[in-house]
């Protein structure tokens, strides 16, 4: 009979009952297979004593915490400063545009002054004939 396979040897490690059947018969008469089974049992026992430490890692919390800096803005960052400056510039531009005075209202006096029309008034350039030109003389 051929030697037992690793799977057959692992089945024999089952602690629920003593080995039985042809595999047990082979094992009784095969020194090699008994040695392999002993090695497997020793390995199995060692694995049975190994305990995995469970740290209860919360990946969601860790991912969120890593992502948090991207959602936070610090004012002294260049990008933030540029945005603040842009906001001020935008506000000033809009305010100036909205507050831009319309066409100035021009009065008679302004246009007369612009055309020097008051020089054409009947007035004395020296001032000395003013009493003559300005008097009303109704009496």
């Amino acid at each position: 009979m051929e030697h037992l396979s690793d799977n057959q040897l692992l089945d024999l490690l089952n602690p629920q009952g003593p080995p039985a059947g042809p595999q047990a018969d082979h094992l009784a008469g095969c020194e090699d297979c008994r040695r392999r089974l002993a090695d497997l049992r020793q390995t199995w026992d060692v694995l049975g004593q190994w305990s995995v430490e469970d740290r209860e890692v919360d990946l969601t919390a860790r991912i969120m915490s890593q992502a948090q800096p991207a959602r936070t803005i610090r004012l002294w960052q260049p990008r933030a400063l540029v945005r603040v400056a842009a906001a001020i510039a935008l506000g000033v531009a809009l305010g100036s545009l909205a507050g831009r005075p319309g066409a100035p209202a021009i009065s008679h006096e302004q246009v007369s002054e612009a055309m020097y029309l008051d020089v054409l008034a009947l007035q004395s350039p020296t001032g000395w004939t003013s009493p003559l030109l300005e008097e009303t003389g109704s009496n």
């Binding site: 029309l117 008051d118 300005e134």
Partner: protein, 292 residues
């Protein structure tokens, strides 16, 4: 700081900066219009009209400013001469003549420009221009103590123009034939009866000359304003009317200067101050020469 708060902050910043800029802009008020803009806006001149006027009379504002500065300088010099009791009469007369000539030069330049504007303006714009003349004339009339008779004459011509309006003889109008108080100059100087008698002895013809010349000035002025306001009057005729007005006013001014200089030695210190005050009235007029 979260993005949301940051963005709200930016929005608030835009609002605050915008409000500040708006308030500042409003507070500053509209910029003072340039002289050329005043004329353009008031008369609603088109771009092409402006260009034609500019081409026709390119140096008006420069020339007028220089001439008004010259007038102002001469007026100040006259005031200074009159203020100094030791100034010889010849010097004062020469300075007064310089004032009159500077004023004439400015008037000619202004009328030249008005004619250029009139050539390129349509009827509606000429009407607006006439309203401006009328405003100047009206202002002169009101300053002279105009009553209802003057004010009702509207824009048709100067308030004292003969045959115009419907209320001649009412109020205090200056229609032809109404009397002038030619002693007003003596009153303005505060001459006593004795001084007036002495003045009459010194220059016996002044009262009659002043009456005649004043009426000539008024008539010439009325004719000039009518010619300026009448669109059918050719430019040459307007300038002729202007020259007639200038000539008559020059005669009145210089005749009065001679008279005042002849009685100047009779004036007391207080009366000298009155004379200086009259000179200042000439130098402090509404025209730009008095403002610079």
């Amino acid at each position: 700081m979260t993005r949301r708060i940051f963005h709200f902050g930016l929005l608030a910043l835009v609002l605050v900066a915008g409000t500040g800029a708006y308030a500042l802009r409003q507070g500053l008020g509209p910029p003072a219009p340039r002289p050329a803009d005043c004329t353009r806006h008031w008369l609603s001149l088109s771009q092409s009209q402006c260009e034609q006027i500019q081409q026709d009379d390119p140096d008006f504002h420069t020339d007028a400013q220089a001439l008004s500065q010259s007038l102002r300088a001469h007026q100040q010099a006259l005031i200074a001469d009159v203020s100094e009791p030791a100034t010889p009469a010849e010097q004062i007369r020469a300075q007064a003549e310089a004032v009159v000539e500077a004023h004439q030069a400015l008037m000619r330049r202004i009328v030249q420009h008005l004619l250029a504007v009139r050539r390129h303006a349509d009827v509606r714009q000429c009407t607006l221009l006439n309203q401006l003349y009328a405003n100047v004339v009206q202002t002169t009339g009101l300053q002279n103590g105009a009553g209802p008779g003057r004010q009702r004459r509207g824009y048709g011509g100067p308030p004292w123009a003969p045959g115009q309006g419907t209320d001649q003889g009412q109020g205090r109008g200056m229609g032809r034939g109404q009397r002038h108080r030619y002693g007003q100059l003596a009153s303005s100087l505060g001459l006593t009866a004795a001084q007036q008698a002495a003045a009459t002895q010194t220059d016996p013809n002044y009262t009659a000359d002043a009456a005649r010349l004043t009426q000539e000035v008024r008539d010439a002025y009325a004719a000039f304003v009518r010619a300026l306001q009448d669109l059918d009057t050719p430019d040459a005729q307007v300038q002729q009317a202007l020259e007639a007005f200038i000539t008559s006013r020059r005669q009145l001014e210089l005749r009065t200067v001679d008279y005042v200089l002849s009685i100047r030695p009779l004036l007391s210190a207080e009366q000298q101050q009155q004379l200086i005050g009259l000179s200042r009235r000439g130098g402090g007029r509404r025209w730009r020469g008095g403002r610079l």
